[in-house]
Each structure stands twice: as structure tokens, then as C-alpha cells.
């Protein structure tokens, strides 16, 4: 277990061969009484049995090379269990339970940011076997990275550049524009807007932006947390209803870095939901172009995806 530096792309790769041993079947380890959680609980976040990063990583061998650089895999990987109820998911969970989940995300962010080796806290959910989820119990994960991951760095650089040019936050400006045009909005309430972005990379990609400029979960007010819980429930429920299935997705929360320079003036907290499917039974593969060049070809029109999702009616509360 170690991190290895890729000088071709200036990024760190996490080598974690023990992850190959992950259990793929058997009794649910996340249910009360299961391997991981023997007692009943409401919500829980725990350090992954097969982590890519550890608080106390094993030492690494000096490569003795100026070219081949490695480093300790110091970080934290947690499994975040949303509820003890195995047979539910974000779209079917009560907004009340999702609200508690967000409070848990807030606390995990605050706690993990106290480790000075942590630079970026990335909260995410892989839903469905199409994106590698091996356990169907409703859960997500978090990685507390000891570095700023490559795509986060790109976001930071882009948002900084925009601010330097226009002295305004890019997402604040996008929100203003989208509220004027109303072409790509899926759902909105007092505090949040959800839309298929003009620049969507995936078919049915949805973004969730707080309307107020806030750079991380830590800054959300109680009212905003409540509104975010409803937004998450509604948007994920719209996917399931539109496609009449438990629609797979990768949900990713983008917060400002921790133990890092202040970026709060230009970085706007946001959530991306990227479904790997382009239709009920068709995958949108991350193939050579996407993986090799980070250039995406979106085979759908974002305005049409937004319209389809907008028109699906779902219940908002409880």
C-alpha cells in the first residue's frame, strides 16, 4: 500500500492491492448484526476494512530513484451508512433521514479536517453495480485525501481564473443565468437549484448548487440543510421514476479543500450526479476518448434531459 507519483500527469496514484480481496456476496455486512455493524444503529460512518488510504499507513520502501517517487498512503477512507434499513435508498428515504445524513457529512468534514495531513475531503456515493457498488445497503463513502486530487485542482484553477477575470464566483454567475433562462432546471427550492448543466458531460448529468455562495457543507444553515435533503430526495427519485428502475449513478460532493489556502471567495460548494447510463438499458461508457483525453462526447441534448427530468413528478417530503 503506497502512493505513487505519475510525472506524466503530475498526479498521485493510490496503490492498494488488498482492495482486490473485497467480499462480493454473502450476508449484508452493513445491516445491524452483520459483519461490520453487530448492533442496531441509526447512522454510522466507519473506516473502510479495505482502504486506499489509512490514518496509520504502512511504511513504504525507498525506491532509491529520483524518477520513481512514492509516498505514504496517509489519509482516511470511511464507509457512510445512511440508515439501518437495508431496503431503501436516497430516493425512498425520508427527507428527515437524509437531513440527518447531511448533518453527519458536516460532522465528518469538520472532524477529519482536524488532521493536518488531510487536504481534501471527498464525499460520494456509487449506486448500482454499473459503477462498482458491491453492497446494496444504502451507503456512500468518503476519502480524506492527503493531496488535492487532479480534477479538484482543475476546478480550483478554473474557478480562480474566472474570479480573477470577472471578480465574481463562476457558479453564482451560472445560477443567475440559469434562473433567467429556465431551460435546464430540474428542481429548485429556496436554497438550492438542481439542473442539467449547459456543459453536461454525461446524459442525464445533474448538478445541485446552493443559491447562496457557500464553499463547503460546513457553511450551510439549518434551513439550507433541510432544503438540500429535499433536493437530493427529489432529484434521485426523478431518475428512478423516469427510468422505472433503481437508476445507477455516481454522486459526488465538491467542497473547498481543508488545511489549504483560502478559496472561499471563488469556490462554490456543489454536487454532481453522473449516471453511467444513457437510457434504461444502455450504458454511456467511459471509453478511450473520455478516459484518455478527459474530453466527453454527450450523446444527448442537456435541455432535453432536463425537460424529461423536470416533468417527472415525485413527492418532496417525508
Amino acid at each position: 500500500m503506497e502512493m505513487r507519483y505519475n510525472p506524466l500527469t503530475d498526479e498521485w496514484v493510490m496503490i492498494s492491492s488488498r482492495r482486490q480481496g473485497r467480499p462480493l456476496s454473502g450476508a449484508c455486512p452493513l445491516c445491524p448484526g452483520g459483519d461490520e455493524l453487530p448492533e442496531d444503529y441509526d447512522l454510522v460512518s466507519f473506516e473502510n476494512r479495505f482502504p486506499a488510504l489509512r490514518r496509520d499507513p504502512p511504511s513504504v520502501e525507498n525506491t532509491g530513484s529520483e524518477i520513481l517517487k512514492n509516498a505514504l498512503s496517509r489519509g482516511v477512507c470511511e464507509v457512510i451508512v445512511y440508515t439501518s434499513d437495508h431496503n431503501t435508498a436516497l430516493p425512498r428515504m425520508s427527507a428527515n433521514q437524509i437531513e440527518k445524513l447531511i448533518y453527519m457529512w458536516v460532522d465528518r468534514t469538520k472532524e477529519l479536517s482536524k488532521y493536518d495531513f488531510v487536504k481534501y475531503i471527498f464525499i460520494f456515493e456509487n449506486r448500482g453495480k454499473e459503477v462498482g457498488a458491491t453492497i446494496s445497503h444504502p451507503h456512500g463513502q468518503l476519502y480524506a485525501f492527503p493531496f488535492i486530487p487532479k480534477r479538484i485542482q482543475v476546478k480550483l484553477d478554473s474557478m480562480r481564473k474566472w474570479f480573477e477575470k470577472r471578480r465574481k464566483c463562476v457558479i453564482c454567475e451560472v445560477i443567475e443565468e440559469e434562473l433567467k433562462r429556465k431551460e435546464r432546471i430540474i428542481f429548485e427550492n429556496d436554497s438550492f437549484i438542481s439542473l442539467v448543466p449547459y456543459y453536461a458531460r454525461f446524459p442525464y448529468e445533474a448538478h445541485i448548487y446552493p443559491k447562496r455562495h457557500v464553499d463547503s457543507l460546513l457553511g450551510l444553515s439549518g434551513e439550507e440543510i433541510k432544503d438540500l435533503s429535499i433536493t437530493l430526495k427529489v432529484v434521485t427519485a426523478k431518475y428512478d421514476k423516469l427510468f422505472e428502475q433503481e437508476f445507477p449513478y455516481m454522486m459526488m460532493l465538491f467542497q473547498s479543500p481543508v488545511n489549504y489556502e483560502n478559496v472561499s471567495h471563488f469556490f462554490h460548494f456543489h454536487i454532481e450526479i453522473d449516471p453511467p447510463k444513457r437510457d434504461k438499458d444502455k450504458m454511456k461508457w467511459m471509453a478511450s476518448v473520455e478516459t484518455g483525453t478527459w474530453s466527453f462526447i454527450n450523446p444527448s441534448v442537456p435541455e432535453e434531459s432536463a425537460k424529461a427530468l423536470r416533468e417527472v413528478e415525485v413527492e418532496e417530503c417525508l
Partner: protein
């Protein structure tokens, strides 16, 4: 704006003068530019930047107690010599370039106005400051009388433009942090200090009495202030009526607190044994020891921190205090280490000061160091906490001269003005909370405002009261202010100077908004009326989730969450 007398232009430049050689460059950075370079020879007071005086600007004094306040461009300081009267040495407290105080605007380290900021990122060799000259403001690096055989780096100057003052100050603070990379402690102290109740009249029985009462308060550190020592400079001997240092520390530690002690390590009084025995250890002027300042009714001299014997003495002093059981050190009157004068080595007063601070940091290791009366920028990286204002006081006086005299009004003003330094330079110490209801000329509103503002700004919280005079309301204010810490704050109103809006995100009690009115008039803001010297607080309604953490046999941490106050 001109830089080193050249038109503002990006690029690299060289200057050859009779007394010195200079190489410098101007580069682009986030929202502005940065000037860096190096110098050799005898640069003296080196002009770096010249620009028109802004209409209204925020100015800053070099050390903890000095004002950080907004002034109009036509303001000029007058009458300071009358205020200090015959104690001209006292001017050393206010500036290492005291000749420039009268008749000018003098701002050390940075100035900021609506749409622009100029700020030096370090003060490791030179003393950086800005001063008015006619209709212009000039930024200097003062290298004093020092001659440099080899190249030494210039203190970098950050130039920002085109954003609100609050954002410019945040970026400045970030840039200072990036330049020096100080370690900011995770532990943010809550404690007790003897000074603002007992001052110099403290008796050991007062300490014991408060130690017994303290168990009803959430203190982590118990700090004995000025009064225990035999003399200024003779720190290891206690005054009559006080037990040994070991006994003092043990009495505190056995009650479960970190033991804290005050001292002024770079100062020696004219009656101290250090002064009597080691006059060669002192900063000199015209061949004799130079009076650094007057206090305690005595002349106080400054230790020459370039003298190896002085550094050995400092090492032994702190080693012995630590050995006695102290683990929290409030080191005060630190500016004395940086007064201009003749020292053993050919270094600037700033370099000398940093030698002393380096030794203290090294000897104390992970113990908590709270700086006070300290030059601000030269201390970055050496202290864990820093007093960022005047001494507070059990009174609030609108009319007192604004030159660092004790006054809760000015102390709270500075706490707000320098809030941007918190967790970037160090932990900010707003000075002690006074929460007693007797022996005090602060209204309940003033006491609350001081405590809540300090809490909302996530500052250190040290109470200074005879705890038998603190009622349940006072205890409640302390608990409330502790719960308001843990967030990130933005302070608006720094160019007003008396009316502030504090917005705190992510505090332990949720998001907060405070209207703090330090003025003598009612303030109408956002549809509310805030009475004079009072505050209004708005708290976010948050659900309570409690966490229980357990560690499994394999070392993994499991965090269980459920709704409610207690799991």
C-alpha cells in the same frame, strides 16, 4: 504607483547605489502582484513603494497593543509626545521608528482601503511600514544601521486590487501564512488568568481560592499573571507570600489544569539582579544601556538577543520554568527585544528579536506560547496564540486616547479589526473575558458583546475574574461563547471602525450573525436597532446529532450518530 522609484511594470530590475545593491522583480499573483528581491550593502531605510494617499484607509500598529483602525486620508497623528510627557522612551512601545509617529499616518506591515491593499508578507530582517509624505504614502523597509556583506532577501510586498476590504485582508492573511507556514495549534485554549481582577496585587491565597472555585467552569488552563515574580528579569525567584514555582505549578496541575505562567522575558528592570550583574547583556545607546520603556514605576532595559550569554540565560530560564511544571507561557512586553539600539552583532533589531523568539520556541517545544506586546509579523511561526489588541479593562471608555492604553472598547475594536489573522498567523487572543457582576464598570451588554464576539471569531477564551463574583449569568455567557467557536468568520465594517457585522459559518452551534455596535449611538441596520455599546445575535436553528466513537480491535474507528443531545 511607483516601485523602487520606477513606473509600475512587471519584470526584473537592478539598482546600484553608492551604499547598496538591489535586485528586484514584480510578478503577477492572485488578484494582484508581488514584489520580491534581494539587497546587499547598507540599504538603511529603503523606499519600496510610493502612491497617492487613499481617501479612507485601515492602518495598523506594529505590535499587539497598538491600534488597528480606519482613518481618513487627511488624518495626522498629533500630540503623542504630550501624552507620554517626559517618558519619551515609552514611544518605543508604539514604533521601532518613533521619529515618524508625530504629524503622520504611520502604518506598520499593511494598509488597506476600499479596492486595494499593500501588505508585507514577512518581517524577518527589515521593519516594513508605510508613512505619509505630503500627498503620498510611502512604503519603506527599514534595515536600520545594519550592513550586509552578502545578499539578503527583501520582505515580499503583496499588492492587491479591486475587491472588498474584507476579501483583500483574507487573501493577505493567506499569503502571510503561505510564506511562513506557521503551525497553528489544534487546541484552542479556554482558561483563567489572574490579571484583570487582581492586577499586581495578586496573593497566593487568591490563586488557591479561584482554583477551588474553578471546578464549576470549563477551564483547561490556569494562568498566573504578573505579580508572583521577585522582579522584572528575576523570574525564577518568587515574591514574598508566593510559594516556589514548582509548588505553584503543582497546585494547578493537581486540579487537572495546564499550568500557565506570565513573564516578560526580554525585559529587565533597573532593580533586578540581572541588571545589576549583567549590564553588558543589554541593548545600548551612546555606550550605555538604553532605557527601553518605563513601567512598574521603574526603568526597564532590553536584553541584547544577539549575545550568546543572553541566549544561554534564556534557554536556562525557560528550561527551568518548564521543569517546574508550567506548560503554557504568556510572554509579554516582547517589543523590548526589537527596539533599535546597539547590539553585540551587526544585525537589525528584527533579526535580534527573532533570535530570541527562536530560542524560546525551541526550548518550549510543544508547550503553548501566547505572545503579547509583540511585534506582529516578526512573531509569525514562533507563537501559538497572540494578543491582537490593547489590554482590556473592567471599563469601557469612548474618549481615551487610542494609543494602546487599557480599555475594553479599544481592545474589542482591535479584536474585530485583526480577526483576519486568526488561524493564519496564529490563534487570536482577544484578551480576557470579564464576566463578573461586581468590581466592574462594564454593562451586561458590553460583557456579553465582548464574549460573544470573541466566541464567534473562534478566538482563545480566557476569563479573568474572582470566580466568587461570577454568577450563573456570567457562567452562562462563558459557555455560550465557547459554543460559538469552531467556525469561520467574515467581519464587515472595518472601514467604519465601530459598527460591525460578523457572519460565522459552521460554528459548534451553527451559523451566526452578529451586529456589534461599539459606538455611542444607536445603530440602525437591516431593519434592526442596535443600542449603543451592544450587540444583536442571530443563531441558526440546527438539529442536534450526537456522535459516539469506538475503536475496534483492528484499530478502525466507528462513528455512530443519532439525533438528540446525548447518545
Amino acid at each position: 504607483m511607483v516601485i523602487f522609484r520606477k513606473k509600475f511594470k512587471e519584470g526584473s530590475f537592478t539598482v546600484e547605489e553608492r551604499e547598496y545593491s538591489l535586485e528586484w522583480m514584480l510578478e503577477k499573483t492572485h488578484l494582484g502582484w508581488i514584489v520580491s528581491g534581494r539587497v546587499k550593502g547598507k540599504p538603511g531605510r529603503l523606499e519600496m513603494v510610493r502612491f497617492d494617499i487613499p481617501k479612507r484607509l485601515l492602518i495598523n500598529n506594529w505590535q499587539s497593543w497598538g491600534p488597528c483602525k480606519p482613518v481618513d486620508g487627511d488624518f495626522r497623528l498629533s500630540g503623542i509626545k504630550d501624552l507620554v510627557k517626559e517618558n519619551v522612551e515609552t514611544l518605543n512601545i508604539f514604533s521601532p521608528v518613533p521619529d515618524l509617529l508625530e504629524g503622520n499616518i504611520l502604518s506598520d506591515y499593511f494598509i488597506v482601503w476600499d479596492g486595494g491593499l499593500l501588505g508585507f508578507l514577512t518581517s524577518e530582517i527589515a521593519h516594513p511600514f508605510f508613512v505619509t509624505e505630503g500627498t503620498e504614502m510611502v512604503g519603506y523597509l527599514d534595515f536600520f544601521e545594519t550592513t550586509f556583506e552578502d545578499w539578503v532577501p527583501l520582505e515580499k510586498l503583496l499588492i492587491l486590487e479591486g475587491s472588498p476590504v474584507e476579501l483583500l485582508l483574507e487573501i493577505y492573511a493567506d499569503s502571510v501564512k503561505k510564506e511562513s507556514e506557521p503551525e497553528i495549534p489544534v487546541w484552542n485554549p479556554v482558561g483563567w488568568c489572574s490579571w484583570y481582577q487582581y492586577f499586581g496585587d495578586l496573593k497566593w491565597s487568591d490563586v488557591e481560592k479561584n482554583l477551588n472555585l474553578a471546578r464549576e467552569f470549563p477551564f483547561e488552563v490556569f494562568q498566573i499573571d504578573d505579580a508572583y515574580e521577585k522582579d522584572i528579569g528575576d523570574w525564577l525567584e518568587t515574591k514574598e507570600g508566593f510559594p516556589s514555582l514548582e509548588h505553584m505549578a503543582e497546585s494547578i496541575r493537581e486540579r487537572g489544569y495546564k499550568a500557565g505562567i506570565w513573564l516578560a522575558p526580554f525585559s529587565v528592570s533597573e532593580t533586578s539582579s540581572v541588571f545589576r550583574e549583567h549590564r553588558d547583556w543589554l541593548v545600548k545607546e551612546n555606550g550605555v544601556p538604553k532605557v527601553a520603556y518605563k513601567n512598574w514605576g521603574k526603568k526597564i532595559y532590553a536584553l541584547d538577543l544577539t549575545n550568546e550569554d543572553v541566549l544561554s540565560w534564556l534557554t536556562d530560564l525557560f528550561r527551568n520554568l518548564k521543569k517546574a511544571g508550567f506548560d503554557y507561557f504568556k510572554i509579554d512586553f516582547l517589543f523590548a527585544g526589537a527596539i533599535p539600539g546597539v547590539r553585540k552583532k551587526n544585525v537589525t533589531p528584527i533579526q535580534a528579536y527573532r533570535e530570541g523568539m527562536k530560542i524560546i520556541r525551541k526550548v518550549l517545544g510543544s508547550s503553548f506560547i501566547l505572545g503579547c506586546g509583540a511585534p506582529l509579523l516578526p512573531s509569525v511561526g514562533f507563537v501559538d496564540g497572540m494578543r491582537i489588541g490593547e489590554d482590556t479593562a473592567p471599563f469601557w471608555n469612548f474618549d481615551m486616547p487610542d494609543i494602546g492604553f487599557p480599555n475594553a472598547y479599544h481592545a474589542l475594536r482591535n479584536t474585530l479589526m485583526r480577526s483576519f489573522m486568526h488561524r493564519k498567523f496564529w490563534l487570536n487572543d482577544p484578551d480576557c473575558l470579564i464576566l463578573r457582576h461586581e468590581d466592574v464598570n462594564l454593562t451586561l451588554d458590553m460583557r456579553k458583546m465582548y464574549a460573544y464576539v470573541s466566541g464567534a471569531l473562534d478566538n482563545m477564551l480566557i476569563e479573568s475574574d474572582d470566580l466568587s463574583k461570577v454568577d450563573s449569568e456570567g457562567k452562562g455567557i462563558l459557555l455560550e461563547s465557547i459554543s460559538m467557536r469552531g467556525g469561520k468568520s467574515k467581519v464587515r465594517g472595518v472601514l467604519d471602525g465601530e459598527r460591525f457585522i460578523i457572519e460565522t459559518e459552521g460554528s459548534n452551534t451553527g451559523n451566526l450573525k452578529i451586529f456589534a455596535n461599539l459606538s455611542r449611538d444607536v445603530w440602525e441596520v437591516e431593519g434592526y436597532k442596535v443600542p449603543a455599546a451592544s450587540s444583536l445575535i442571530f443563531k441558526d436553528e440546527r438539529r442536534k446529532l450526537t456522535r459516539r466513537t469506538e475503536q475496534r480491535a483492528d484499530g478502525r474507528l466507528f462513528h455512530y450518530y443519532q439525533e438528540g443531545d446525548e447518545s
